[in-house]
C-alpha cells in the first residue's frame, strides 16, 4: 500500500500553515516527518486523519482517496486524548469498539497490548492516576488496539524514559516488519534515523527536503574525510607536508583527524600520499552529514 499526500494547502484565518505539501509513505517502511515547532507537521497529520479537511490537495491510498471506513488508521496525537477520569480497560475497549471491533476482540487486543507494554496491572486504574509516561503507553495501546494498517505517530517518544523508549522502538520495528505504513513525526533525529528510510522535512508550510535518508546523505558534498589512528602526531606531520591545493584545512577533534579536501575528487590522491603510513591508519572514511546537521541546515536557511 502507498499513502500519498498531494499538494496539501491549509490556512487558519490569515495564517497559511501548509503551502503545497506532498509526501509518500509505503507499506513496510517508515516515513519521518520532520520540522521545527509550528512547521505544519501536526496540521498535515490531522488532514490525513480527517480531523479537518485541506483547503486544496488530496490524500490518496493506492491512487484512490483515503477512506477511513475501509482502512484502519491508528493515530497517536501529539496532545494526548483519552478520558482522564475513566478506567483504562473500559475506555480502551470503547475505542476498539468505535474502530469496528466487537467487545471481545477489543478486550483481547487491549489486554495483550497492555501486557506487551507491561501495563496489565493498571487495567482497572483511572487514567489520571498514572504517570505521564505510563499515560503515553496507554495512549499507544488505544492507537494500536484495532491492529491498524496505517499507523500515525505524532511525537511518540516525548515523555518516555529510556526503558519505555526501547519498548516503543521494538513495537515500531515490529509494525514495520508486519508491513504497516508507519508515519511519524519527531524532533528527535536519532529516533528518525533509527527507523525511517524516508524523510520529509517541513519548514514554514513547505517540504524543503524529502527522499531516502541514504540518498539525501550521499547528495551532500563528500569532501570531508575522517582518519582514525593511534599515532595522530606522526600523521599530522605527513599531512603538513602534502603538496599545496590538495586539502583546504585539517583539524584534530575527539582523537580523530578531520580533513577538508579542496575537491572531493582529491580523495584518491590523498589516499596515495598517505599510503606509506597505511600501517598507522585504523580507519579512513568520508564523513557523512548527520540527520541533525541536515535538519538544521534546511530549516535554518529557510527561515
Amino acid at each position: 500500500m502507498k499513502l500519498s499526500a498531494q499538494e496539501l494547502t491549509k490556512s487558519f484565518g490569515e495564517k497559511s500553515v501548509l503551502r503545497g505539501v506532498s509526501f509518500e509513505a509505503e507499506s513496510g517502511k517508515a516515513l519521518g516527518l520532520l520540522g521545527r515547532n509550528g512547521a505544519g507537521k501536526t496540521t498535515a497529520i490531522r488532514i490525513i486523519m480527517r480531523v479537518f479537511s485541506p483547503d486544496s490537495g488530496r490524500v490518496l491510498l493506492d491512487g484512490a482517496p483515503l477512506d477511513p471506513n475501509r482502512v484502519r488508521i491508528g493515530y497517536l496525537p501529539e496532545e494526548r486524548g483519552l478520558y482522564p477520569k475513566r478506567k483504562i480497560l473500559p475506555q480502551l475497549i470503547y475505542f476498539g469498539a468505535l474502530a469496528g471491533l466487537n467487545k471481545r476482540e477489543a478486550e483481547q487486543n487491549a489486554r495483550s497490548l497492555l501486557k506487551r507494554l507491561s501495563m496489565e496491572e493498571y487495567a482497572d486504574k483511572r487514567l489520571d492516576t498514572l504517570s505521564k509516561g505510563n499515560q503515553q503507553k496507554i495512549q499507544l495501546v488505544a492507537t494500536l488496539i484495532a491492529d491498524p494498517d496505517i499507523v500515525i505517530l505524532d511525537e511518540p517518544f516525548s515523555g518516555l524514559d529510556p526503558v519505555n523508549a526501547m519498548l516503543l522502538k521494538d513495537l515500531i520495528k515490529e509494525l514495520i516488519g508486519r508491513n504497516k505504513i508507519v508515519l511519524f513525526s519527531s524532533h528527535q533525529m536519532n529516533y528518525i534515523e533509527e527507523f525511517c528510510d524516508e524523510i520529509a522535512i517541513l519548514n514554514t508550510g513547505k517540504i524543503v527536503l524529502s527522499g531516502s535518508i541514504a540518498k539525501i546523505k550521499r547528495s551532500f558534498s563528500r569532501d570531508t574525510l575522517i582518519i582514525e589512528s593511534e599515532a595522530l602526531p606522526r600523521l599530522k606531520e605527513q599531512i603538513d607536508n602534502l603538496p599545496d591545493g590538495l586539502i583546504s584545512s585539517f583539524e584534530e577533534t575527539e582523537g580523530r583527524l578531520l580533513i577538508k579536501l579542496t575537491d572531493s575528487e582529491n580523495k584518491k590522491e590523498l589516499f596515495n600520499a598517505l599510503g606509506g603510513s597505511a600501517d598507522l591508519i585504523d580507519a579512513f572514511y568520508i564523513k557523512e552529514p548527520s540527520l541533525n546537521e541536515i535538519f538544521v541546515k534546511y530549516t535554518e536557511a529557510a527561515v
Partner: protein, 417 residues
C-alpha cells in the same frame, strides 16, 4: 447505528459510575424515604401541616379598665385557646408590661370597652393566631348579651350563631388547590433536571474537546453519532434517576398510606392522574432534548472548560426566565396572556404548557399545537446543533463570533458535498 449504540452505552455507563451522580440519586431517595416514613416514628402519630404552622400564646393575662365580665371572657378563651393558661389580674398597665417583658406572660390584654382592648406582647409572631382568637372571644361575650337585651332567647341565640353554610363543589376545570403542590414539585424537578443534565452534556462535550479526546473519536466515529450518543446517554441517565426517585417515593407512600390519610397536601401529590404523568414524561423528554442540543452545540465552541459557562449562559437564562414566569403565574392565574404566549414558544413551553395543563384550563387543540411546535423545533434544533457541533469540536482558540460560525457552517456544507 452500531457506533451510536457504542457511544450511548459508554456515556450512560459513565453516569452510572460517576460518584456525584450516584451520590445525588441516593441522597434524593433517602430524603424522600425519610420524609414519607416520618409519621410512623413521630410522637403525634400524624404529621399535620396545621400543627406546624400555627401557634398561640401559652399564658395570657386579662384586666379591665371598665366594668366588664372578665370571667365570661376567660371561659370563652379557655375553649378557643385550649391549653393556654388564662389569668385575671388587677388593672395595672405598668405591672402587666413588666410581666410581659420578663416573660411571666406572653400576652397582656386590657379591656377598654366591650368591643375594644389593648394588648401588650414582646414580639408579634407571623403565625400567631392569639389576637384572632381573642377577637372571637370578645364577640362571643358581646353578641349573646346584646341579643338578650333585645329579648331573644338563649337557645335561639346559640342556634343562630352556630349556623353553618354548606357547599357542594362542582369544579369544571382543575382543582388548583390540589394540583398546586404536585405541579410545583414537578416543575422544580423539570427545571433542575434540564439545567443539571444540560450542564452535564456541556461539560462532557467541552472535556472531550479540551482533552483532545475528540481528535481520536472523530477519526473513528461520526460527529453526529457522538453528539446524539452523548445527549441521549445523559438523558437516559437522567430519566432513570427520576424514575428511581419517583418510584421510591410512590413505594414509600404506599407503605405508609395509613399514616398519611389526613394529609391533604401529600395525598394530592400522590393522587395526580395518569394523564398528567404522561404529560410530565413528554415535556420532560422534549424539554431535556431541546435544551441539551443547545448546551451541546454551544459547549462544542469552547476550547477550554472555563468558557463553557459563559457560552451556555444565554440558554440557562431562558430556562430560568421560563421557570420564574411559570412559578409566579402559578400563584395567581396560570392562563394569563404571557403564559399563553410562553406555552407555544418552544423554549418555554415545556414548563408553561405543562403547568397550564396541570392547573389551568387548556383546550385540547392548544395542547396539540404546543406539542407539535415543540416537537418540530426539537428536531430542527437537533439538526442545527449537529451542524454546529461538527464544526465546533475542531475549532480551537477563542470561541467564534456569530458571523465566523455561520461562515464555518457554510464552508463545511460545501466541503462535505
Amino acid at each position: 447505528m452500531k457506533q451510536f449504540k457504542t457511544i450511548f452505552a459508554f456515556e450512560f455507563s459513565g453516569y452510572l459510575k460517576n460518584k456525584v451522580f450516584v451520590g445525588l440519586t441516593v441522597i434524593m431517595v433517602l430524603i424522600t424515604a425519610v420524609f414519607l416514613f416520618s409519621p410512623r416514628f413521630s410522637s403525634t402519630g400524624s404529621f399535620n401541616v396545621d400543627d406546624a404552622v400555627v401557634s398561640y400564646a401559652e399564658h395570657i393575662q386579662l384586666a379591665s379598665r371598665v366594668d366588664y365580665d372578665l370571667e365570661k371572657l376567660k371561659s370563652s378563651l379557655e375553649v378557643l385557646l385550649e391549653g393556654s393558661e388564662i389569668e385575671i389580674v388587677p388593672c395595672d398597665e405598668a405591672a402587666m408590661k413588666k410581666a410581659v417583658s420578663e416573660g411571666e406572660t406572653d400576652y397582656a390584654v386590657i379591656v377598654t370597652s366591650p368591643l375594644s382592648y389593648k394588648y401588650i406582647v414582646n414580639t408579634a409572631g407571623f403565625s400567631d393566631i392569639t389576637g384572632y382568637e381573642i377577637d372571637e372571644a370578645f364577640l362571643s361575650v358581646y353578641q349573646p348579651a346584646e341579643f338578650e337585651k333585645e329579648g331573644v332567647s338563649a337557645e335561639r341565640i346559640s342556634e343562630i350563631l352556630s349556623s353553618e353554610v354548606k357547599s357542594e363543589a362542582e369544579i369544571i376545570g382543575n382543582d388548583q388547590s390540589s394540583s398546586f403542590a404536585y405541579t410545583y414539585i414537578l416543575m422544580m424537578m423539570l427545571y433542575f433536571a434540564v439545567i443539571m443534565y444540560g450542564q452535564f452534556v456541556a461539560q462532557g462535550v467541552a472535556t472531550e474537546k479540551s482533552s483532545r479526546t475528540m481528535e481520536l473519536l472523530i477519526t473513528s466515529a461520526k460527529p453526529v453519532s457522538l453528539m446524539f450518543g452523548k445527549i441521549l446517554g445523559a438523558g437516559a441517565a437522567g430519566f432513570s434517576q427520576l424514575i428511581i426517585i419517583l418510584g421510591n417515593a410512590a413505594l414509600c407512600y404506599r407503605l405508609n398510606l395509613s399514616y398519611w390519610q389526613d394529609n391533604f397536601l401529600v395525598n394530592s401529590v400522590f393522587g395526580m392522574d395518569l394523564r398528567l404523568i404522561a404529560y410530565t414524561a413528554l415535556f420532560f423528554a422534549l424539554g431535556f432534548l431541546i435544551y441539551s442540543f443547545m448546551y451541546g452545540a454551544l459547549a462544542s465552541l469552547a476550547s477550554r472548560l472555563e468558557d463553557v459557562s459563559a457560552l451556555t449562559m444565554p440558554v440557562s437564562l431562558i430556562m430560568v426566565g421560563a421557570f420564574m414566569l411559570t412559578m409566579f403565574s402559578m400563584l395567581k392565574d396560570v392562563d394569563n396572556v404571557l403564559m399563553k404566549i410562553a406555552s407555544f414558544f418552544p423554549l418555554t413551553s415545556p414548563t408553561a404548557m405543562f403547568t397550564r395543563i396541570a392547573m389551568g384550563n387548556v383546550p385540547a387543540w392548544q395542547i396539540a399545537l404546543s406539542v407539535a411546535i415543540l416537537l418540530i423545533s426539537t428536531v430542527l434544533i437537533g439538526y442545527l446543533a449537529a451542524a454546529i457541533y461538527k464544526v465546533g469540536v475542531l475549532m480551537y482558540g477563542k470561541p467564534p463570533k456569530l458571523n465566523e460560525l455561520s461562515r464555518a457552517l457554510r464552508n463545511n456544507k460545501i466541503s462535505s458535498k
